[in-house]
Every structure is written in C-alpha cells, then in structure tokens.
Symmetry: D2
Subunit: 355 residues, 4 copies
C-alpha cells in the first residue's frame, strides 16, 4: 500500500485512452493543434470567462512561470514559509524569476491570513534595503492538506492588492480543493481575486498535465515566449492537451477527486476512535496527517505501508508533536480502494506498542 503521494499511480483509463486516440494523424506542432484549441474552449467554460492558458509539463514549471509572471527579478514574492514553491521545488521559482526573493511567512497549517501579510508589510524598513514586494503565492490546498474558503481567498487577495501585489494560486490539487469546498472554479479563483493559477492534472488522474491559467490578460503578455524559453513548449503538445480534454470532459476531474477525497475521509473516520492517533490538521482533501508514535510508524512500515513523515513546524501551538512522535503524511488517489483504507485502519488500530 503506497500512500507516499498521489503521483505514484499512472493515469485513469479514460485519460490514457485519450492519449492513444490523439496519437494518429498529423497535427500542428507547438500547440497549433485541435486538442489544444478544444481545451482552451473547455477552460473558458470551466471558469465561466475567457482565460489565457498555457500547457506545461510539471507543476514546478507552472508555479515558477506563474511566479515570474507576477514578480520581476528585482522583486520579492510572499508565500508561506513551508509552501511547496519555497521548500520543495529546488529553487525553480528563484531561477525562473531571475533571482527574485521568495519571502516565507508563518501560518498554522500552511495557511496565510490578511493579518500575517499586513504585519509583514508594516515591518518593512523602507529605503532600498529590501526588494519591493510584488506578489503573493498561496496554495490551494496547502502542504498540510488545508483549503482556503472562497471568502478567505478574497480577504487575502484584497489585502495583497491594497499593496499592489498580484496573486498566484498553486493548484497542484485544485480538483481536490474544489470538491472539498463545493464551490465553482470561478468562485475559487478570479471571483476571489486570483490573477494566475497553476492548474494541476497530474496528481488527479493524468500522466502529465499542468497548465498556467491567466485571469488577468496583461500578465499573459509575452508568455508564449517565456514558456518556449523555459523549454516547456512541447512539439507534440497534443500529448498534454488530449489529457486535459478528457480530464475536463464530463467533469471527469470531479469524479476522480471525489473518490480520492472520499478515501481520505474514510481513513479519517477510521482513525477517529483510536486513542493513540490524532490528526495534525483537519482532513479536508486527499491527505491525512496522523500524529503517531515512532513505534506505530515502524509497525506500518514493517507491514508494507509506504508513507513519509512531514514537517511539524506548521502545527498549531495547541497541538504539538511529542518528542517520540512523528507526523505522517498519507495521500490517497483516484486509485486508492476502500480495501486499502480499511486494511490501513486495521493495521493502525491493531498496534499495541503504545500500551
């Protein structure tokens, strides 16, 4: 049982079939193909407005290109101090931004608040000691499995825009967050003030499908050159576009995300009665973060369960991890089965090392 990430599985059957179907015949290179044209229309409908979209190959590239679209080389980009962009992308945003500064802010569960942003800006020394703050990047959901409500996003972007910042949303698990909130894509993005979105498909049933979606056309200027220069313009772009087409068609993304979220909820429900397990943060999407003893983790590992431990820095002060404890990250996917979950719960329930 592999709960290391939602990227350890391949693509859904429907999406794999779409790749195969798109393989025949000749097509224009570099995005001048019919699949891409159709996906652009689908995304306009999905977001209930005209958007400008650029398909890319990885979430890291999507985030880094989007960061560079809102923050120039001489600027600073605010983000959570344990966000994926600052901590897990090996400096890709700094590279793509041309040496701009990523500034990490605190916040429980990876979530920022208007107050945190205001406090940081109020504390700036003035003059030219620090680069001017140009943008804000938030993750929906966070590295700790939490989602912002649409109202929370709107409050954050309002605070940011009051200081002239542009706002990026890292939507590597956009589908999962959307299903969790039950709102529309528009409500979770541009209606709440988001300027540019990294839209992820790979973690939710595609093999490789990521996109940068612009709601502010001005930010998309020259972006086709920026994508090419980044080595992110596929000659046979139908490979990505066909996946997105199937992903969006008939709300396939929703079915996939509902399933993975439901598996995480089932796991959460299964763990609730266990006295020796508590969660680091509430389960909201397809990630569960139980705080357990080192012994329990070893017990799971011995039983063949694969998962990794996670940072404790962003735990709530009310809910710290003990010296012998570890925060586990368990990620479910569209392929996780109820049987997987039930076996995992059973393993955790059966552990007797803590008694």
């Amino acid at each position: 049982m592999n709960f290391i990430s939602d990227n350890v599985v391949g693509a859904s059957d429907k999406i794999l079939a779409a790749i195969a179907a798109a393989n025949a015949g000749t097509a224009g290179s570099y995005g001048a193909d019919e699949w891409t044209a159709r996906v652009e229309q689908q995304l306009n409908a999905f977001f209930e407005r005209e958007v400008t979209v650029f398909m890319v190959t990885t979430g890291t590239a999507a985030n880094a290109l989007a960061a560079a679209a809102i923050c120039p080389p001489w600027g600073a980009l605010l983000t959570h101090r344990e966000s994926h962009v600052i901590d897990d992308e090996c400096g890709a945003p700094e590279f793509y931004m041309g040496g701009a500064k990523l500034t990490g802010l605190p916040g429980t569960g990876g979530k920022l608040t208007p107050e945190i942003i205001e406090a940081h800006i109020a504390n700036e020394p003035g003059g030219t000691r620090r680069p001017p703050i140009k943008g804000l990047s938030i993750a929906q959901g966070t590295e700790f499995g939490l989602v912002y409500s649409a109202a929370e996003i709107a409050a954050l972007t309002a605070a940011a825009k009051a200081h002239g910042l542009r706002v990026h949303m890292d939507g590597a698990r956009f589908s999962n967050a959307l299903v969790a909130l039950g709102c529309t894509p528009a409500e979770m993005t541009w209606k709440a003030g988001i300027d540019v979105l990294s839209l992820g498909g790979t973690k939710n049933g595609c093999l490789m499908a990521e996109a940068v979606v612009f709601f502010d056309p001005a930010l998309a200027e020259d972006f086709r050159f920026k994508r090419k220069r980044a080595g992110q313009t596929l000659s046979k772009q139908r490979l990505i576009s066909a996946q997105f087409e199937a992903f969006l068609d008939g709300d396939h993304w929703r079915d996939l995300a509902r399933h993975s979220n439901a598996m995480a909820a089932r796991l959460t429900a299964g763990l609730a009665p266990l006295p020796h397990v508590r969660l680091g943060w509430p389960q909201q999407i397809n990630q569960v973060f139980p705080i357990v003893s080192q012994g329990l983790w070893a017990h799971l590992t011995d039983a063949g369960v694969k998962c990794i431990d996670w940072s404790e820095t962003s735990l709530s002060p009310d809910n710290p991890a003990g010296a012998d404890e570890v925060v586990l990250r368990l990620v479910t996917s569209f392929r996780t089965t109820t049987d997987d979950i039930d076996r995992l719960v059973s393993l955790m329930a059966g552990y007797r090392g803590n008694s």
Copy 2:
C-alpha cells in the same frame, strides 16, 4: 501531405503501447521507477560504456541544460550562427546558462570546422572585454540536414579541447545521423570527444522523449538539482522512460530512422532528373532542401503540400539562391509513405511555370 517537420506525427505503435503498458500500478516518483532503471542500463549498452542520463521533456530543455553544464554564466559558448540553439530556442540556452553568451560562427550547411574555431579564437582581443570561451555546441545533423563524419567530429573536439572547451552535441535527429553514417553510437559521440549529448526521441517516433547523456561524469555533478530547478523532473517519469525503453528495444529507433531517411533519399532520387530543381545541400538524413522558384512553391501549396522555406545564409557560395528562388525544407518521418513521396515528386515534376 505534411512535410513541415518530423514532429507533426504522433508516436509509433510500439512506443504508444509502451506508454499504455507502463500506466498500471504504483511506481516511485521523480525517476525512482523500474522503467527508468532499465533505460539507464539500455543506454549503457547502447553507448558501450557507463553513461549518466537524465530524461527531460523537450529538446530545447535538453540543449539548454547541456549548454549550462559546459558553460558557466560568465562564459561564452561557440556554435554555428544558424544553429538551433542560437536561432530557434527563444533564448532558452541563455536563460539556462544564466546570461552566458552564445557566439555564432559561420560555416556552409551549418557545419563548423577546426579552422573556423581556430580563427575565431585567434581573433579574440584578450583582457576582459569578452567572456572566456568555455564550450562548443554542434548539431548532428545540422539545421541543413548535414552530418559530421566521426572523423570530422573528432577533429572539431580536438580543436576545442586544445583551448579547454567542453563539447556538446545536439542530437535532436541523432538516430537519423547514426543511420546515415552507419557507425556506432560510441563512435559518433564519446569516442570522438563529445562530453554531453542531447539525445532526441521525439522527432523519431516518440511522443515526448528527450534525454541529456553525460559521457564525462564530472559534468553530471549536481545535475539532478539542475533538472529539478528547471521544472524538468517529471513526477511520473515512467511516461518518458517507457518510451525510451521501447525506442531502444530491438533497435526500434534504427528501423524508424532508416525509414524516414529512405523516404528522403527516395525524394532526392525523384527530384534529381528535374531541370528546375536543385538541392541546397546534399541529402544525408531525413531532410531535403530543394531550391525552387516561388512559382513552384505556390504550386505545391495549392496542391495541399505543407512545408516551410528555409534560410539561405548557409548555402555554399558556389550554389546561391536566385532572386526569385526559395529554399524549401521537406522533412520526412517514420510515417511518411512511398506514396507520399511519389505524389510529391510527381507534383514537382509536373510544374510548368518555369518553362
């Protein structure tokens, strides 16, 4: 009939089937999967030595990452003045190298010679007016369809190394060049002094399969970080690795390249008797560059033939294009049929506008 590029078609059946087969089950992310491990072994055998290989998503990324591996931000990289890296990648090498200078040198048919390199270096002013020259990038085959013999490559790398340069080979059409020369991969690369290779699969039957292959392990140091930072590390890397596995298995690459080269040779043979058509450069791989009248080009376009015109700068002085003439680029692929070729020859033969 689409002769615009070898990237207008999808993948071969075998390679598409490999993608589908690799889709099942869980696998380690970011290259920690069995397909990748097997491809690494295949490439060791292919090159008859241990190589260090990193799969990436585009030829542009492969070239730019390789360029950055041999040329630091404060250096200069020599290349042909009409090479793909200097002219067709939208500044990607400059971006990846962190602002290094690409210096373009002349040469008929896109080919450099030791004399051209020596003359350039001898003409450097000294002091710190110019960045120090650190590397050389050559294309095999060139933008004009020519290949270097193994001896020519060895002479070039010897000249470069006499001045401390590292040498990169852009092998976007590596298979086609190899089939044209009839030598081994080792003879065309490390045995001839190549330090790092961009190995292309996309133009020869894959959907998206490119790799950076290091023959000098020192150049590969930290490369896994560089690839990640470039947004080129796929979470589901089996997508690429499975394609390469099928590409290399049973010399599938050779069958594909032989076919596309043969189609170009058939076209060349068909055009040879035509008095109103001559070639800009000899046909060696899967590209044919007839010099024709504007009228003939229009005639082809009207008949549904898709192709583009090409630069005349690197024609031999003995074989210039006339004022009313254009150099066409006709690219064949693994899917081009003899019927396609014969119809094209027939169209060109039947043109009467020049009489």
Copy 3:
C-alpha cells in the same frame, strides 16, 4: 605618449578639487546628500526638462542597467555588431538583463540606419523561435569615432518605435559628440526620441562619474532597487555627485571636450598630407583611426607611442585595409597637448619604411 584611451589620465583640477571640497562634514548616505540634489537640478537644466537620474560607478554598469530597463529577460536588444555593449563589456548587459539576447546588426563605422533595422525586423521568422525584440541601443559616438546627427537619431528612434522598441544611447563620450554636433543635449537625446541615456563623465575629465538618465519616467520605475541590487549604490555618493557638479558647472564638460576634440582634429590635419597614411573613418570626436603599415606601427611603438589596433570589420567596403596594414586607434584627452600631437605627426611623417 599614451593614446590608448581617454581613460589613462586622472581628473581635471577642478573636478579633483570638488572631491576634496565635498569630503568634509557628515552627509546622508546612498544619495541623500546635497551634492546629489544639486546635480539633479543641474541635469534638469542641462536637458531642459525634468529627468530622473541615477549615478553609478562605471559605464559598463550604466549601459547594462539601462539595457535591462528597456529589455526584459525574455527579450532581444538590437545593437551594432561591434558596439561596446555587445563586444567590450564581458557580457554585462546579458547578465543585468537576466539572459536576454543582444542581437548585432551590421553598419559602416558602427552606425546603424533605419534601413538596417527594418531589414532585420522584416526577416524575423515569427512564432516563438526568437525572443521578441524589445529595444535598441546606439552609441553616440560609436566605437569608430562617428556621431549620429540629431536627424539621424530621430530617424532611428522613429523606426524603432514603429515596432514598439525603446531606445538607449550609450553616451560614454557624450560630451565629445555634443561638441562635435554643436547642438543642445536635449536635441541630441529626448527631442530625438531617446528614452534612456548612459551619461559618461569618466572619459572626459572625471575620475569616476557615470549616470543613467531617464527621459521616460515609466522606465525609471523601481530603478533605485535595481541599482542597489547591482551593487551600484554608493554609501558616500557625494564622491560621484561632487564630480558631476563640477563637470556641469560653468560648462566645464564643454571646455574639456572641446580640447580633446581639437587635439584629434589637429592630429587629423597633420596626417592629411602624408601619402602613407589614410583614415579608416572620418575624424569627428576625440578619436583618430589611421590605416597604416605594420612597419609604421612598429616604428611608433619603438618611439614610445602607446596605442592599440582596432577592428577592420566595420570599415567601408570602399576603404578596406590591406594585408600588411593595420587600423590604429589614437584617442586624445583633455590633457593631450599640442606638443604631443605635433611630435606624433612628426614621427609618422618621418617614417620611411614604406618607400
């Protein structure tokens, strides 16, 4: 006799005295001082309009910062193929621009024309193969001692602006060009369409005084951050500002430049009767470029004359250098004496090696 450059001498007495006078007392750091405030007023008067000015330490930094102000990392900047920015600054513009491409265009004597710019732009392939052209950088005077007339500058900037380009002027020898033309600073810059100027003082009597002058306020946005980030914001900026104050006061710059230009004119007049000497380009500022035999150059060197040879690439086709000939660069300064010139002429006149 040292004719290698106008930077081999120190500062004029007046400028040196200004440094000494500015040394006393305390003053605000990083430009918040009275000398800087006064220079800003002087430059407004000098240019007959409000300008935004930033003092920096070298002409290379001024050019590179100005280039970055008109060309983003993903763009291309047009310039003459033998301009100082492309050929003599060791890649500083590429570094400051964050990896943008400098594209070199031909032109006799280092001068571009609207036709050359139009031809280049018309030849662009479209799509995303090349970075978008964003700016034009011209030198006044050129590396070959020529100046553009105000009308020529206006024609160039009109051509550039028709394609959306911003225009930079490298004014390392701005004073010399101004004296040569006899027009006003305004006529030679913003009235002729220049957006940003590198204003040089170092080559004309200062020890170290360079400035970036913006005529378009929009381009100056965030520039104080960019200068700081470049390590070009002096804590004791009065060091530079005091020099500029003395340089501008009472048109000291004009007296200095008139002298150095006059010395070059005297040299030109002295060489005119010599049958074995001709000029590569007309003398217009403080540089003279005689085409002489290798023997004559050796003769001068033996007599203690210091100068360097120069590129022949931008000679007019009507006036090539022979196989045994060399183009010398002789630069005069505010300290060059009539005696220096007369001795040099005498030495060249007395050479008998060519007979």
Copy 4:
C-alpha cells in the same frame, strides 16, 4: 550629532591626499597601474601569505561577488537570518549568484554556531526538494556589533567544511573587528578557515574602497571576468587602489578603527550608570545598541541626535525589549569626538521622562 552610520563621514585626510596624489600622469586602465600593484603587495604582507585581490566599489558588490564565487546558481548559501547579505542588500547576492537561495538561520546577536549549522543540515529532507547547500557567509562583526573570536570562526568553518561548504566573511567592519580581537588578519581569516573575504575600507575612513580577497586561489578563477561583467571594473582603478594604499600604509586602518572603537567604548562606559538604559548586546566594535524608552529616543531626536532603531529579533531571550522600548543603533566613526560622546551621554543621562 550623526550616529546613523560610519558612512556619513568622508575620508580621512591621509586617504584624501592619496587620491589627489594619484591623479597626475597617465596610468594603465582597469587595474594595470602601479597603485594596484603596490596594494596587492601590501595585502600579501597584511595577510602573511599570497592572496588574490580584486578591488570593487561597494560592499554589496563585494559580498555578492564573493557569494557567487562560493555558491553556484543552483545552490543554497547559509547565513544568519538577519545578516546584511540576506536583509540589507536588496537581493544583490541572489542576483549575482544567478538565482541561488539564501537560507537564513537563527542566532543571538547575529552570530551563528556550529550547532545551528549542524541542526539545519541534519534537518534537510534529501532528494532534490531543496538546492544543495554550497556555502556559508558570516559577518565579522555582525549586524549587532558582535565579533567572533578566531576560535569561534575556526569552529564554524570546520563545521561548514565537514559538509563541503566554502566560507565567506563579510568584513565591512573588518578593521573594527580586528582591533577588537587584537589578533592578526591571518588569524581572523585564512588560518581560521575563511576562503574569501569582503574587505571593507569605506566605513573606516575611505571614500570608496572595497575588495574581494581570495585565500583559496581556485575560487578566484575567472574572477576578473566576473568583476568586469558586474560593472565593477573601474577604468581609473587607481582611484580605489590609492585609497587602499594609504589605508594600509603605516597601519592607518588600525589608528582609524581604534579611534572609532574607543568612542563606542566611551559611550558604553558613559551609559553604564544610567538606570533607564541597558544594552541590547555587549559593545565590542564601533556600534552601541542601547534599549531605551520611546520617550528617550524622542528626547534625543529633539536635541538633534540622529540615529535609527534596530531589529529586536536577534536579542537574547533573557534580554527582551519591552512594548514601549526601542533598540537604538549608535555608530561611531574615525571622526567622532570625545565631545560628541560626552554630549550624547549627558543628553541621555538628563532624560527624566522615565521617572
């Protein structure tokens, strides 16, 4: 009375005279002059070994160039989280390093310890989520006026080198630290494991004199190109070199630093009896950081004392600032007089607002 910084005053008489003396005659440009040659010899003697030295114009440039010499674009550089390089240079290190990551570590008074470094490295997640750590930059003295002993430096560099890191010392106030420790320059640098030093003269009596000093020749490779590319190679470099020559001659630097340190010590002694004033950190060099009430600060401001408030983040937990308190930074210079100090002490002693 201006205690804002040691950069609000000009140069010492001796150093100003040296500039004037160096102004006459012709000299080679770009450092090929006799003053530079002499300074290089002086520094060899100063450091008791052969060093490689490059003069530059600002401390920011020195630090950023040095950072780039020990950390490649894809790496991470450790430093204190409130160091000058991370917090006061507007992103210059990130720019010069080409997008590398500056990672801030905690530590009282701006000082790092081997334990802090070890703990950070031990906590790295592995894989390619983070850039590889390549270097360490420490400040001597720190932003909070503290100095490392030679033994402390040696312990830090040993910890760094055990993990393959190179070590840079920011010596903007090198002279002050050296006088405080009473050791030799060699003991405080290369004998303690420092690889590269930013040697500051500007804050200790020069107008503009900074240098990058390499103790490891391998790190200096290509540095002349890097300096030129950064726009930091002065054509009339004697301007800087002459200052350094006078600075080093007869231990002028020591006299200057002894004076400014003594003025800070006198201030510290004067404040010691005052019940309403305590220091944030011990006084060791030419900076004093009293923690005072907002009322006292206003009292000083009203009396014409200029100074700024400083960060409280790096106070010891045992000595926090209260809600109504502020940490002042008072910097003395070579021109500060005993009268300045005594008047300041008197003003602070006379304040009655706290009673």
